[in-house]
Symmetry: C3
Subunit: 420 residues, 3 copies
């Protein structure tokens, strides 16, 4: 949403972008100002490919999900031909929202204001009492660009979506394919409003420098060596690292036997649709994100034949990360609400045939990330409060925060591109 | 309230006004932006004649009502000479509000801060401990322009109120006179905060395209053919229309016998103090706004001698509508609180001698509009959420929404005038 | 915190400052606009010396208090060498708040995000996993200028604090010294959020024209002749004034015997670090701020040997006032939260050896100012609502409001200075 004052503002944002020091966080206005927030919504959320839901959530024709991305409301719906569509949730008459629930199932979509009625593919089927010459074919719900990659639904709100998405899909699909997300179901969802800018939420996610002290549940299985290069490793982590190397060798062997890719691909700054994917070993029993590392669900996903496959982790810029385990998947979406408020939506998927209380226990399944999210929420709120001080000055990233630097660099590139 | 940035802003609003397509709703910034909200307050609410209360609410000398219109607070008070006055509720010393209650009765008005004391006509009677040379006659409460038309109190906050109001008063008074509002009392009041821009609230009121599906209680008596021309009538409404025509003929006869005017006068766009007035038949028993159309109060208003007189409906731009029935009146005021929040104040009047529980039942009296308001609140909130999407594009009004188009056209004229 | 639009804005504030009429309140934008609020935070709270806490609250090494002044968070801490320090509460890594509680005691200060660890003097002691060449001495917590005057802790957030503070300290110290604040303890604290601009809160404090009608508890002991010159006294106050003169003569004698200064020094407009100090008699028993004027605590402060010493009252611009009694002290801090919301923090100190329930009763100790604050909060909210009306026009100050005029004049000087 652009404001009247945007023309003047962008000049200043340009100066701020030009001043950015690589290896350091952004200056305060990027986290505080309404103008930058509006610009982020327009330049990042309005232009990039965004993960919004999964095929598991729109399994049958008429199943829909609505997602609010900044000021946009998007309907993701499986149409009568079985195709996943994304449509703007805005009636073509006087602009009312058409669907009001977060999810559901419909035959047609009827706007509750004046009963304009749309098919699941967006076509306007009926609009009462029109003047002669009214052409319904001009008033279908507006289409949003959509891609499905192995069960993940991505949309792009721009009229000219970045076309490198198909390259990304081609490269991540082999990693995702064995988990067969389209044969899963939602076991749990959690919406958490964090009191910080969306970029602080993402920066928090892109490093594990804070994990050792901050995430006791997560580090039961997540090796806190994440992000370190070997020669930077603090002595206290050397035993953990040795365990990590052993687990990695075992994981690689298991993957090689099954023809499953695991090597890291990390393409963040320098490309539009940026991503990182890697399968890595977990600590403890090595099977899942639980406090002992053992499976949380007894039903393996897809055609997997073994539980000990570590975590397939995927980062998609600007706002998502995912962990695919052998027994479940956990997906994270970050949606900006205001300069200082951000929605973090977490979804846990299990095999579509898994039965709660029989194959999985909900508390055990969600325990690690429920606590980890809450802990991150506190850290983010403290960072937001801190950078609001005029005394804040961006300090140096440690080497193990290189992915945060990558995130910020990518972000700066996107804003520059938008303002060009 | 003007902001520092107004000068720059108005240029852009001008461009938006110039782009307005007749027959279509306004573009999104008109419903969303703080700048437009401030402009609306200044250009519309600060310049036009506004209905604020009734004589029934300030019956005796010293009786007062306070009304907040945007940043203004206005005292409507009957002074010691029996005249209805409107005064700014701002102490002439350091600006404190003088009266804090919504209504009450006073001998003098004493500012609670430093005890400056004003007569009911606004004269400063007393200010303690002043320096020599202090002239109390320079510090009376500022007067607000006021008109009373058959019991309705209108005020105008501008120093130069539109002078066509007297013409309007002359033309609507004969319609109102038989109901003798000055001999009524307030039976009920309801303040509803709707989550939408005030213009969406008004646009919602100015058509009944949405009534059939949206207002089951209202359409017990309100013919949903409202706004249609005969050749546009959908087939399903033809039986209703036939009933309407019969009821109209009967109503016209009753009016003619009593010398009461009923013909529609509709002067909306093209004039400053714009209005619409018409007496029309009601469905069902045809007497009142109840779920069966029968009277809600057994005491006829004024000197009326019959209940079956339909509804005398009055629209005043920018923000009011009224229905005068034989047995009661229901009055609506729309006050902007923020770009996305609007107060809708509903007042039900009955004969001053009517006794609750004897002559009328409060639930039955208020049922139809209590529900109708709540339903409209939901529709308006959905419209507000929808037009916030960058995908929103104003669609075509149907022919039966011509009064919405009139409202919008009138509004555009007022903003143009203000910015000229 | 400067906004992108500040450059344009300040031009208009300059015009508003130039239009200010001496002897009258400020125009409405000074109380309403976000731009002026931001400017106040930068030009007043970011540049002037501010009272923030007392030595009694940071008695031992490691004891700390955190105070939020606009967007700043300041740690006041007694360091390991016993010196009172003020530090910015912003980690030098990624800007997180370091301390989160309002007060406490620490050995070192550990940022909870990535465990950067600071000594109580701000030195960075430890930052894990840094690249070679990282120099911890460059990343200590930033220092804030601090002064201690007889137990009151003042800070200044500017890099170049006004240097006339030392002159002020030299002049007020003899008045404060006998009360020995460093040997007190906090008996009670009260945070009240008033719904008005911080300047309306201060203006309310700087006159007692409103006390007679507005503060029944306060005027048990506070002579409502405050601010009047003899020839302005209304007749009804003449008996009070006679009582006041007798009490003053008695107080002066008691002070002279003990070598305690009492004469008023009033240096408000015309200097940067502005103040007013005076010891004055109290009504009733003349000992303390209670509803009968008798002591609230049986333990005398410092080396005082008598209870009947009236009130030593100190005003510090921009945002503090203090009353030092023989048996306790009550300290007031005003902190802007938003254009229309202000925090008033009240602290009651008693002798460090006084025992609650034995030497003092908490309700009796806090009764007068608890009620007076609440009454002022109501008056301020009504003033805020009133000046928001476009009909507001600054009226004349009465002669007994000359200190309000002094406050406003000082404020205008500071803004002019900042914009120069």
């Amino acid at each position: 949403m652009t404001t009247f004052a945007e023309r003047e503002t962008t000049t200043d944002v340009r100066a701020l972008l030009d001043r950015r020091v690589p290896g350091r966080p952004l200056e305060a206005p990027f986290y505080l100002s309404q103008e930058v927030h509006d610009l982020d919504v327009a330049a990042v959320f309005g232009r990039q490919w965004l993960y919004v839901t999964t095929e598991a959530e729109v399994k049958h024709p008429g199943d829909y999900v609505t997602v609010e991305v900044g000021p946009w409301s998007v309907i993701v719906v499986r149409d009568d031909d079985g195709q996943v569509r994304a449509l703007h949730n805005v009636c073509r008459h006087r602009g009312s929202r058409v669907l009001h629930e977060e999810r559901g199932s419909v035959g047609t979509m009827v706007c509750g204001y004046h009963q304009w009625t749309y098919a699941t593919d967006g076509t306007l089927l009926h609009a009462g009492e029109q003047a002669p010459g009214f052409d319904p074919s001009c008033f279908g719900l507006k289409q949003v660009a959509v891609r499905v990659v192995e069960g993940l639904v991505l949309v792009c709100l721009a009229p000219d979506p970045p076309d490198d998405v198909d390259d990304v899909i081609g490269r991540i699909a082999p990693y995702l394919a064995p988990h067969q997300l389209c044969r899963t179901k939602v076991a749990a969802r959690e919406d958490l409003v964090e009191h910080g800018n969306w970029k602080l939420v993402m920066e928090n996610n892109r490093e594990c420098y804070h994990c050792e002290a901050g995430h006791p549940e997560l580090t039961c299985t997540f090796f806190p060596t994440y992000g370190y290069s070997i020669d930077e490793l603090p002595d206290r982590l050397l035993p953990v690292h040795a365990r990590y190397l052993r687990a990695e060798r075992e994981l690689e062997r298991a993957c090689d036997e099954r023809g499953m890719p695991y090597a890291a691909i990390e393409e963040i700054s320098g490309r539009t649709t940026a991503f990182r994917v890697q399968r890595e070993a977990l600590d403890g029993a090595g099977e899942s994100y639980t406090t002992d590392g053992a499976r949380a669900s007894t039903k393996l996903l897809g055609d997997l034949d073994v539980f000990k496959l570590g975590r397939l982790s995927l980062h998609l810029q600007p706002n998502a990360w995912f962990h695919f385990l052998a027994d479940h998947a956990v997906l994270f979406q970050v949606l900006p609400l205001a300069p200082d408020r951000t929605l973090v939506r977490t979804t846990w998927l299990v095999h579509e045939d898994a039965v709660e209380g029989v194959d999985y226990d909900l508390d055990r399944l969600t325990e690690v990330w429920h606590h980890t999210n809450a802990q991150d929420g506190t850290l983010v709120a403290r960072a937001q409060a801190g950078v609001a001080s005029p005394a804040y000055e961006p300090g140096p990233y440690a080497p193990n925060e290189y992915q945060v630097d990558g995130f910020v660099t990518w972000y700066v590139e996107r804003l520059r591109e938008h303002l060009a």
